[in-house]
Every structure is written in structure tokens, then in C-alpha cells.
């Protein structure tokens, strides 16, 4: 008696990591002709598919879809109670079966009917008479595709959850409303801020560093690239900035020290632009040092002037032994200071021109003087083309520090911090702050 084992009709499956998963798949064979069911089962079992169930008619098929939850349905086109088209439509109505492969067996090669079948959700068809190699190959292809899609979906869900957790952690690095409020109140000025990543997490970071007597430092960092790598670097930098508290009153020394540390930490090609400004309301001045960051822009109400400061300096993390210059400027009571990352000045959605630093200066000149810090930020964003929901090509941070007399507007802040409009900010996952005139 000949006991020669059947040929492996799908050699590829042996070498695939998903081979076992494919062969453990649940397959429902729906055919009203008993011998055809046996033939299909015999061919599949010879290829080690063992998890098979059988339906004899359309209703049986629908019932078994629910109780057996197959990974693949082999469906005969003509069963006594329901046509294959009808069964297919009924199966696809259920959310849990939207991606279950449905392979119909048909001798029909009517192009119109085939079109109707595919529109009804059929994944593929098997010609009749049954060709064993074709049957196995199509079953394997569709099961592998389903497995890959499922793995991809699970992977994306996991990554999405992890990125969401990372996003929340990164948002917590940014100054809270309470921190901004406290700094603003202590210095008798107003602060508005805006921070938005190009993806879930980003490479921008800013922070407030209280120094003494209402003096505080503001830093704004922008790491190369976006996403996870850049975001991890912001965590490194955040820790470093707070490690050198003794240098918070010395912008140039802080930048030099951060540079030395980052040069050792960052691989080639990764670096950060960095701006550190000490706001000294008592002395009426700002002192800052910059490492390749866009220049701060200052407005003076009495003089009607808007001007960017000089901004030169090697970005952090590129070369050892870099020294930075400290710049000192008068910060009068009628002045506002705008700090931003290049995600603002360089923003484009592909259809509009970048606003550039010159465009920002112009916008600040023409914007109404009465605007509160966050209103000015909103106006600038609109001028740059940054609207709610628009895709951001780069991480973007904007900070406005306004020394002018506190406005009399009533502010409503999502965080619930009662304010005299001294703080207004928009950070990821928080509702837009509204400022309403009383």
C-alpha cells in the first residue's frame, strides 16, 4: 500500500515564523455537497491544517461564524438556502468579521458577477474544479495577511499607548499653569506660551527657572529631528538644566556647561539649539545667551519698535570647549519679549510661504497693542498659517513675556488657575485657553 505522504503544496510556509500560526488557524468550510467538504478538508489536513469546521448551508455558515469565530471562510457560491453573495454580505455586516478572509469557490467566471462578489466583501475566489495547490496557496496567503494585519494592529495599539504615556510625561516637563502663574505674578508681568509637537512627542522643551526676588530664567531648546529620539534628548536636557542650578543666574556659563555635557551624551548628528534668558524685572533688563536658537524679538510700545536681538552661538552638543556670549538688553515696562523655536518661523503646510523672522517682526508691528500674550501668540500662529488641526512639520514652541501693565481682562484658564490674565498657555492635550474681555 502506498503511504507516500502528500506533497508540501506550500513550501514557503515551512520557512515562515508565522507558519505555525497559519496552520493553527480556524477555517470554516461552507459547502452543501458532503464529498466536496471532505475533499477540501482532506487537502487542508494533508497540509496540517487541523482546526476545521463545516457548514452545510447558509444559515449554518452564519451560525458557525459566531460560535466558531473562524480566521478564514471557504464559501461555496451556491447553497440551497442562501447564495454565497448573500452569506458574504451578512458576514461583513458584523464588525468582528470585517477582515476575516472569505474565499468563494466558484466555477463562474462571469466578470459582472465577480465584481458583485468583490463588492460584497469577498477576499478572493477559488476556481472549480478544485485545484489543491491553488486552494492551499490562497488559504495560506490570506491567513498570513490576516496575521500580519493583526500583528500590525496590535503593535500600533501598543506603540500608541506607549507614545501617549510618553507624551503625558513630556507635557509634565513643561511649566504648569501654576508655575507660569507664580513666576509671572512674582515678576509683575504676563506670560503666554504655546507648545505643540509634530508627532505625539517632540524635540522642543522650554522651562521656567525661578532665581531670586522675582527674577527667573526661561530656556527654550530644540533638538535635531522629531519623535522619540528628540524627545528622549529633551528628558536628558531637562535633568541637566536642573542639575546646574548654581548656573541659572549665568546664561553663558550655563550654556557652556550644558554643551560640555551634551557633547559627551549625544551621538554625532544630534544637537540642540538653546536659548536662555534671565528676566530681571527689578533691573528692567533681560540677559541671555543663545546657542543657535532663533533670535528673541522685543517690542517697545512707547517707541513703536519691534526688533530681533542678535543671536549667534554654536548649538549645544556639537563641539567641546565652546564659549558663549552674554547679551544684556533693557526690558522696559512697556516691552514684550517673544521667544520661539524655528517650528514657528519655518512653518509651512506646503501651500504657504514660511513667515520667517522678518514676517514675525512685521506681524508683531501690526498686531493690536492691547493683545494679551496668548492672544498675540494666537495672532502670530494665524499669520504663520498654524491653525488648529493642521499637521505640524516641526515641533513648535512660542513664549511671550509681557511687561506692560497687567490687563483688566478676565481670563478663563482650563487648569482652573484663577488669574488676572498673567498666564495663558496652550500645551498639548489641554484645551485652548480663552481670554474674554469683561
Amino acid at each position: 500500500m502506498n503511504r507516500t505522504p502528500p506533497a508540501n503544496l506550500y513550501l514557503g510556509a515551512e520557512g515562515l515564523t508565522s507558519g505555525q500560526a497559519v496552520r493553527n488557524a480556524r477555517i470554516l468550510i461552507a459547502d452543501d455537497e458532503p464529498l466536496t467538504r471532505k475533499l477540501l478538508a482532506g487537502i487542508l489536513q494533508a497540509q496540517h491544517f487541523t482546526n476545521l469546521r463545516f457548514a452545510e448551508n447558509g444559515q449554518d455558515t452564519l451560525d458557525l461564524m459566531h460560535s466558531f469565530q473562524p480566521d478564514l471562510l471557504l464559501l461555496d457560491m451556491q447553497m440551497p438556502d442562501m447564495g454565497g453573495l448573500e452569506v458574504c454580505k451578512a458576514v461583513r455586516l458584523r464588525d468582528e468579521f470585517v477582515d476575516v478572509p472569505i474565499l468563494v469557490q466558484t466555477a463562474t467566471v462571469n466578470r459582472r458577477e465577480m465584481g458583485a462578489l468583490f463588492r460584497a466583501g469577498v477576499s478572493d475566489y477559488l476556481s472549480k474544479p478544485i485545484n489543491p495547490a491553488e486552494l492551499v496557496a490562497r488559504v495560506v496567503v490570506h491567513l498570513e495577511r490576516r496575521n500580519l494585519l493583526r500583528e500590525l494592529r496590535e503593535y500600533r495599539e501598543r506603540i500608541s499607548l506607549e507614545l501617549d504615556a510618553a507624551r503625558k510625561m513630556q507635557a509634565e516637563l513643561l511649566p504648569s499653569h501654576a508655575t507660569q502663574h507664580a513666576a509671572a505674578e512674582a515678576a509683575g508681568l504676563r506670560i503666554g506660551s504655546y507648545s505643540r509637537s509634530s508627532s505625539e512627542i517632540g524635540g522642543d522643551l522650554w522651562g521656567l527657572l525661578p532665581i531670586d526676588g522675582g527674577r527667573f530664567g526661561v530656556f527654550l531648546a530644540d533638538f535635531t529631528g522629531h519623535g522619540v529620539t528628540a524627545a528622549l534628548n529633551t528628558f536628558r536636557l531637562h535633568a541637566l538644566v536642573h542639575e546646574y542650578k548654581s548656573l541659572h543666574g549665568d546664561p553663558a556659563a550655563l550654556l557652556s556647561m550644558l554643551n560640555e555635557r551634551l557633547v559627551r551624551l549625544l551621538p554625532p548628528g544630534q544637537f540642540a539649539t538653546f536659548l536662555y534668558v534671565i528676566v530681571d524685572h527689578g533691573a528692567g533688563e533681560v540677559r541671555f545667551a543663545t546657542a543657535g536658537a532663533p533670535p528673541p524679538i522685543m517690542t517697545s510700545e512707547s517707541r513703536g519698535a519691534v526688533r530681533p536681538f542678535e543671536a549667534s552661538g554654536v548649538p549645544l552638543g556639537i563641539a567641546r570647549g565652546v564659549t558663549y556670549d552674554e547679551h544684556v538688553h533693557h526690558f522696559a515696562e512697556d516691552a514684550r519679549l517673544l521667544l520661539f523655536s524655528d517650528g514657528l518661523s519655518e512653518f509651512t503646510d506646503g501651500t504657504i510661504e514660511r513667515i520667517g523672522e522678518a514676517g514675525l517682526v512685521t506681524e508683531m508691528k501690526v498686531s493690536p497693542r492691547a493683545l494679551a500674550p496668548h492672544e498675540l501668540i494666537n495672532a502670530i500662529c494665524r499669520a504663520a498659517g498654524i491653525e488648529q488641526g493642521v499637521a505640524m512639520p516641526d515641533d513648535t514652541t512660542i513664549i511671550c513675556i509681557d511687561r506692560r501693565a497687567a490687563c483688566n481682562d478676565t481670563c478663563i484658564i482650563k487648569a482652573g488657575v484663577a488669574s488676572d490674565c498673567s498666564v495663558a498657555s496652550l500645551v498639548p492635550a489641554q484645551e485652548e485657553v480663552q481670554c474674554q474681555r469683561s
Partner: protein, 121 residues
Amino acid sequence: MSAQLADVPLFDDLQIALLREALDEDDLAALLAELPQATGAAIEAIKAAASSADLAEVQRAAHVLKGSAGSFGAARLASLAREIELELRGMDEVTESLARLAAVAEQTWAHLPVIVGRPLK
């Protein structure tokens, strides 16, 4: 038997070869042993539908016969079933077709031991 049908071999050697590759020989023999019963049931269904003058049911039963006969390589039987399913113009042609069907089925079943290479169980 029409001249055209006579040109169709009783069994399709290629289909039988494909089945031999895919199935253990004993399993294939066991399946082929069931072919007379399965095709016989389909022929009975055609007869029953014909006696009720239900052309649609005749065609549906012929479709089932075409599928099972064709998948097991019974080419001539499948070809005749296809004629009944797709080319029959009216009930008056069914009687003549049934007679041919019975004859071809007998030939097919009789040839099965040759295909299997031993008497059917």
C-alpha cells in the same frame, strides 16, 4: 452521446494527478469510493426536479454534480452536468439528458477502480 461530449475523456488525468499530489493515496481512494454515492445523489436530485418540472432546481442540482464530478476528475460527467446546467433550453430536453447522464455516470463509476488502482471498498 453528442460528438462533442465523446471527445471529453472520462477522467481528466491532470486533475487526478493534482489530487494524488495533494492527498495520501488511501485518503484519495476513500474519497473516490464515495463518488458514486455523491454523484448518484446529485443525479437523483436532477431527476426529482425534472419530475416536478422545476428547471431552476434541475440547473442547481446539475451545478452541484458539475462541481463534485469536476473536482474528482470525472471530466465527462462534469461536462454533461455543465450542459444541463447552462445549455438546457427547456424541460423537454431534460429527459434525454437524464438518459445520457445515467450512462456516463455508469461509465465513470465503472472506471474508478482503474483510477484508484485497486477495487473500491
